[in-house]
């Protein structure tokens, strides 16, 4: 699943470490989220969206099929 975490994180001048602190996960989780190699739980997706001042729909690109 594609996402805009990296782009929005850069816009907010946040490092992966800082974003990880904000949402209460390890830095590696943010790294794999950005790479699209980890599908987060709804809770984490919500927390990341809140931390980046956006919505889940804006943050994650859901592809049909």
């Amino acid at each position: 699943m594609k996402n805009r975490i990296k782009e929005l994180r850069a816009r907010h001048n946040l490092t992966q470490e800082e974003l990880a602190h904000k949402v209460g996960v390890r830095r590696e989780t943010i790294l794999f989220l950005e790479k699209g190699k980890y599908n987060p739980s709804l809770r984490l997706a919500h927390d990341v969206a809140v931390a980046l001042k956006t919505t889940i729909e804006e943050l994650f690109v859901f592809e049909e099929g």
């Binding site: 990880a20 602190h21 209460g24 996960v25 390890r26 830095r27 590696e28 989780t29 794999f32 790479k35 190699k37 980890y38 599908n39 987060p40 739980s41 809770r43 984490l44």
Partner: protein, 149 residues
């Protein structure tokens, strides 16, 4: 956030105590086997091969606990949803691996005479199984940790 950190520090203390107990149990288990082996007569040099995995286990344990301790002090959670998923998956795969190991052991015992293979005492297999479980779990955890999910 401060409360969360305190919770993590408490968890870290529990982890340190658990790691200490685990290390003591591993050493005690090895000493027990040594004691039992000595009861069978002079020790075979093959027995000391069991020391080869024992030392890395203890070194890795210290390394792991120290790394986690540093992470907690830096404010990183001990476990998050991804690491929990990875641990669960690694545990499942390690269990499947141990079933295959037991099957291989059974075949070895069945065909060792026909194939002219040396007889390995059952207690060695049990000792080996302990390391296989630990090794498989650690290996799968590392693999899934690098893979992503």
């Amino acid at each position: 956030m401060k409360r969360l950190r305190l919770k993590e520090r408490k968890k870290m203390t529990v982890m340190k105590i658990s790691a200490g107990i685990f290390a003591a149990l591993v050493v005690a288990f090895w000493l027990l086997i040594l004691y039992v082996e000595m009861g069978y007569g002079p020790l075979s040099p093959v027995f000391f091969v069991t020391l080869i995995p024992l030392i890395p286990i203890l070194v890795l344990l210290v390394f792991f606990v120290r790394r986690q301790d540093r992470a907690v002090k830096a404010g990183v959670p001990l476990r998050d949803e991804r690491s929990e998923k990875i641990e669960n998956r690694a545990g499942r795969y390690a269990m499947i691996g141990i079933v295959w190991f037991l099957l291989a052991t059974a075949f070895y015992q069945l065909f060792m005479e026909e194939l002219g293979l040396p007889e390995i005492p059952l207690r060695y297999f049990i000792w080996l199984m302990f390391f296989v479980i630990l090794g498989l779990f650690a290996g799968f955890k590392l693999y899934f940790g690098r893979k992503g999910e």
